[in-house]
Amino acid sequence: VAVKVEVSRIEEGSAGRAAASGEAVLSELQPLVVRTVRLVVGSGSAVAEDAAQEALLEVSRSLSRLREQASAAAFAARIAARVAMRAARRERRFELLGVRARELSVPGANGQPSELVELKEAFDRLPPRQRATAVLRLYVGLSEQETAEALGCSVGTVKHQLHDARIALVAHLADGKEAKDQRRGGRA
């Protein structure tokens, strides 16, 4: 997986350069942080981009606490997940009030196959914690143990969250299909 490669590159590079400047580390961590936050908060929303900026700032402020360069990716992912979940929860409350985030066009997101678009829509309906678990495990490529540490929960909870996420995804996809069929039936 591309991201896994990218993460291991960061780890190797960071380990090899003990004296690397914070700026260099940050620029290496940036893709991981930005994409993690974007996926957890909701790709294509203006709020996700703001949260990504916020997470980058928080990572840069916390770099002095980073003891082992080798664990930089897990360290950044932990901060990104925390900021993203906070933003996603805030956004859920806004949505309950009927205030929606403005949509942005994310390069590369347009023209994706409809199955992926449907899956993404279903994914965006998952609770923030399930989204964060899925992103850290399946996109960032953290182990179950690392994901548990990043989210401050047990390994069992990580497994449980992923399982629940899959069930909810299937249910949301089924709902989506049903709604589509009904619309088609109505038109006919």
Partner: protein, 304 residues
């Protein structure tokens, strides 16, 4: 069912990853397209409307804080209100609860059609006038069935009780005024006494008055004051004046007992000190004596 479906229609890790990679976007945060991050949907409007409605319900409390009017419960627990006002309101509430309100002459008892559900809905903050060594207060009452009411109090010294007189109820007058023809029962015998809005350009509207104690006590007169009225005073036939009070859309003036059997003029002035209304009344409060007799329907006279 869903568990079974998951078994059959499992979202594979590969699909999951493909979706996440497809929507992960660029490595840098995107610049905002518009200054505003959020947009408002119809649901927001509905919630805003609901919030406004809730605010409307909370307005009695808010208005009480601003000093406009209070619910009876708020009034009775308001430390700014004098004990005699609270005692009197309690008595009024009790009377309404026990007897309702009967549409007879003056309102109390005996009539065939009592409003059993008559109750005090709210009390306006008091207007206070200071006579030498005493004070008088006026409170407006919000009442049901198109009625408005007033509680007028004089401090004990206002009515000059003889020294050593036993402690007794303080002087209080209750005036209940219909603003439309009642649905039940007849109008009181003074059937011209339905307060109606004054014509455009009005400054004062008399609603009540009298003297306390009757007869030959201090006179008082109260009513509505338009928003243009900044101050009121009473001018006597000898040219002297006494100051009244204006607030929350009402005025209250007091008259010297010496004014007694003469007419006096209540004068309303605007903020610039210009006279904008004159209301002739008797020195005992109420309808003026001849040569300016009350015309039918002028119980609640408007000025100018």
């Amino acid at each position: 069912v869903i568990e079974d479906q998951v078994q059959r229609e499992q979202v594979s890790d590969a699909q999951f990853r493909a979706m996440l990679e497809a929507f992960a976007g660029p490595a840098s945060p995107l610049p905002p397209a518009t200054p505003r991050r959020r947009r408002i949907t119809r649901r927001t409007m509905i919630l805003l409307a609901a919030a406004l409605a809730a605010l409307g319900l909370a307005v009695p409390g808010a208005l009480a804080l601003l000093g406009y009017w209070e619910t009876p419960k708020q009034f009775l627990s308001d430390s700014r209100q004098p004990a005699y006002a609270k005692q009197s309101l309690r008595g009024l509430i009790k009377a309404f609860r026990q007897h309702g309100y009967r549409l007879t002459f003056g309102g109390w008892g005996g009539g065939p059609h009592p409003f059993r559900d008559f109750r005090v809905l709210g009390v306006t903050s008091g207007l206070v006038v200071h006579a030498p060594g005493s004070e008088a207060r006026l409170y407006g009452l919000r009442l049901p069935h198109g009625y408005i009411g007033y509680l007028f109090f004089g401090s004990r010294s206002f009515v000059d009780f003889p020294p050593g007189s036993p402690p007794r109820s303080f002087p209080v007058r209750v005036q209940i005024i219909p603003t439309k023809k009642p649905l039940l029962g007849p109008l009181p015998p003074d059937s011209n006494s339905v307060a109606r809005p004054c014509r455009r350009g009005w400054a004062l509207q008399r609603l009540g008055g009298g003297d306390m104690p009757t007869p030959h006590g201090l006179g008082y007169e109260f009513g509505l004051a338009s928003s243009k009225v900044a101050s009121v005073h009473v001018r006597y036939h000898d040219g002297s004046t006494t100051k009244g009070a204006v607030g929350t859309g009402h005025f209250l003036v007091w008259m010297k007992p010496s004014a007694g059997w003469t007419n006096v003029t209540v004068i309303a002035e605007n903020a610039a000190g210009k006279t904008i209304g004159r209301l002739v009344t008797s020195g005992y409060g109420g309808l003026p004596f001849t040569p300016t007799p009350a015309k039918p329907g002028s119980v609640y006279a408007c000025a100018p």
